[in-house]
Amino acid sequence: MTEVRRVISIVVENESSVLSRISGLFSGRGYNIETLTVAPIPGSKRSRVTIETRGDERTIVQITKQLNKLIPVYEVIEHSEMVEKEMVLVKFPLTESLADIEVLCEAYNGTIVNVGLDMCIGMVADEPSRVKHFIEAVGRYNPIEIVRGGVVAIER
């Protein structure tokens, strides 16, 4: 079966062991985690975990079902109708052209967020596929460090 990429959004009870239950489920059953983000849902005692994964159709269905079995899991949202964004921070040496970097960041809905004595930091938040392209594109400006934030998603 062919592998598909899927973003799964999980609403959980906000308790200390819940993240290990989820990550342990993935590692124990051999599922992939490409990215994982987690943060409390404002105004509630719940958190949202967003996992970007890959697998064949049967695996994706199993992931959803197995997640639903975890006691602190309220809801598992898994379908293609999600608006997805990912953030990335890139540190460049100032020997590169600041103008080029700025234009590049703006092309990907981003900007330069910090300039120091010998480096600058660009930030981009965009769809995951575009973030991937952005990271490819910055390669020619000798980035010192790239930090990706993982995917966050919300239902349309």
Partner: protein, 570 residues
């Protein structure tokens, strides 16, 4: 009422109706043991190893369907219990295991006997808790029992730091649980069941495939009724033995790696698999692409994750097996014509006549299968049979005439050697009036033999029938078949004196080399009502047959040399 955490634990156990706790004390759980000392709401059985405590609680739960309870200390007490938790988890057995933990000010400091119990047990429990406040303790205990016994049952661990069992608090045991994120039993959808009923009515060669879920949901009577109404033949997994009863004409027997010829052929040729509480385990299916190749599949399971996990299902039904079977019965009543499957039943009867479950008996040496069949004749219906894991387990499954659910107690999913004796102790506590026999081997019995002394002390006379072939027999069998007879580390010629071992723990031992001696030993052991080892020298190189090699097609069996001389002519 104001009390400390340890007393709360005892009060909660009493409130849950717990009569027996199996356990072993230690530093971090001492407060609770102090409270146990002062109470008389339940009995505590001191096993001699924490693994055995959990297996005993497990055997108790399997025998009577209630939640089994075990109690252990932190660190090694807990890690010893892990095999027991995993055993119960794989077979969906409801347990609550309470473990002590180092006091909270030591948590995370590598304190003496500290281990991350919640982290270690996460993959082998249905759920687990580390109690962080005395205020949470009553609720957590209530939830633990609720989660263990509802939905797909399973073991739940409650890890309690020592300071919490000492701390005073207000004890109000909740009447109800409120876990909004926990889905218990979904009610089966009417239209799903109707679709399955239609499929059954259209099928020419339907087959009821029964799994452990049938036992767990106490669905045996309903399933016998469904089979009788429709005259659809049945096969059972290792975990479902007893569901139909050995004498039932609609029972073909056990299927799978060591299933009988008719059962495996039925599965290979059926056009509609009606799976009830079974999960298409690899030891049942063999090669998946050949399994039920010509069949549509109805899959009834309480756990949606089991449906479609390994095979594509045409008629998925999420729900409690008993409920669904009863819905099927009302759907089929007046519509199903038992005659419509007559040809199918005749084909299967011919298969069964061709290669019945058989073995070649001997006058020279005791055959292990003979022991099991003789056991069936001598103790039959009234006994509970537990077992360890290996050849003896398969022979017991193949040859003992199980008549009722919960009569057969074994570790199917995890395959835990050393399970049988402590599980037998648990089963005997649940049913003191029944004869409890642990069918075991000379490999397995040594893995929890310290329980001899537990059984003796508490007068829990489990009779251990040791099929002694001086081998780790099942591994030896694979070495014969698949490793050109290189018997790597399976030769157990160097043997303990089993008779003396039993006697050293105030039990009785018997060395048996003839059939007459076996009859006499069993009779004597039952009469004397003491824990016993009946050490039987059996044929050394006997194989468990039929056998489907791992990942082979079910209809491609290695069969015993002798077939029925009648060749299926009736």
């Amino acid at each position: 009422m104001n009390m400390n955490g340890a007393q709360m634990v005892c009060e909660a156990l009493v409130a849950e109706g717990v009569k027996t706790v199996f356990g072993y004390p230690g530093g971090a759980i001492m407060n609770v043991y102090d409270a146990i000392y002062k109470q008389d709401g339940f009995e505590h059985i001191l096993n001699r190893h924490e693994q055995a405590s959990v297996h005993a609680a497990d055997g108790y739960a399997r025998a009577n369907g209630e939640v089994g309870v075990a109690m252990v200390t932190s660190g090694p007490g807990f890690t010893n219990a892990v095999t027991g938790l995993a055993t119960a988890y794989m077979d969906s057995i409801p347990l609550v295991v309470i473990s002590g933990q180092v006091p909270q000010f030591l948590l995370g400091t590598d304190g003496f006997q500290e281990i991350d119990a919640v982290g270690i047990s996460r993959p082998c429990t249905k759920h687990n808790y580390l109690v962080r406040s005395i205020d949470d303790l009553p609720r957590i205990l209530k939830e633990a029992f609720h989660i263990a016994r509802t939905g797909r049952p399973g073991p739940v661990l409650v890890d309690i730091p020592k300071d919490i069992t000492a701390e005073m608090g207000d004890f109000v045991y909740p009447d109800e649980v409120d876990i909004p994120s926990y889905l218990t039993v979904p009610k089966a959808k009417e239209e799903d069941v109707s679709a399955a009923v239609e499929a059954i009515l259209k099928a020419k060669k339907p087959l009821l495939y029964l799994g452990g879920g049938v036992i767990l949901s106490n669905a045996s009577d309903s399933i016998r009724e469904l089979a009788a109404l429709s005259q659809i033949p049945t096969v059972e997994t290792l975990m479902a033995l007893g569901a139909m009863g050995a004498k039932n004409p609609l029972r073909l027997g056990m299927l799978g790696m060591h299933g009988n010829y008719a059962s495996n052929m039925a599965m290979s040729e059926t056009d509609l698999i009606i799976s009830l509480g079974a999960r298409f385990d690899d030891r049942v299916t063999g090669k998946l692409s050949e399994f039920g190749k010509y069949a549509k599949i109805v899959h009834v399971d309480i756990d949606p994750a089991n449906i479609g996990k390994l095979v594509n299902v045409d008629y998925p039904i999420v729900g409690d097996v008993k409920e669904v079977v009863e819905m099927m019965i009302s759907g089929l009543t007046g519509k199903v014509d038992p005659e419509q499957y007559t040809d199918w039943r005749e084909i299967l009867a011919r298969y069964d006549a061709l290669y019945p479950q058989s073995f070649e008996d001997s006058d020279e040496v005791i055959k292990p299968q003979w022991v099991i069949e003789r056991l069936g004749e001598l103790v039959g219906e009234q006994a509970i049979i537990t077992s360890d894991v290996g050849q003896h387990q398969m022979w017991a499954a193949q040859h003992f005439p199980f008549d009722r659910p919960r009569q057969w107690i074994n570790s199917g999913g995890l395959g835990t050697m050393g399970f049988g004796l402590p599980a037998g102790i648990g089963a005997k506590k649940a049913f003191p009036d029944k004869t409890v026999i642990n069918v075991t081997g000379d490999g397995s019995i040594l893995m929890n033999m310290q329980e001899l002394i537990t059984a003796s002390e508490y007068k829990i006379p489990v009779i251990n029938v040791i099929l002694n072939n001086h081998f780790l027999g099942m591994v030896r069998q694979w070495q014969t078949f698949f490793y050109e007879g290189r018997y790597a580390e399976t030769d157990l010629t160097f043997q303990p004196n089993y008779k003396a071992l039993a006697e050293s723990c105030h039990g009785i031992g018997y060395d048996v080399t003839t059939k007459e001696e076996f009859d006499a030993a069993l009779k004597d052991a039952i009469e004397k009502d003491k824990v016993a080892f009946i050490n039987i020298q059996v044929a050394r190189f006997e194989d468990v047959l039929p056998m489907v090699p791992a990942n082979g097609a079910l209809n491609n069996m290695m069969l015993p040399k002798i077939a029925n001389p009648d060749k299926g002519e009736k």
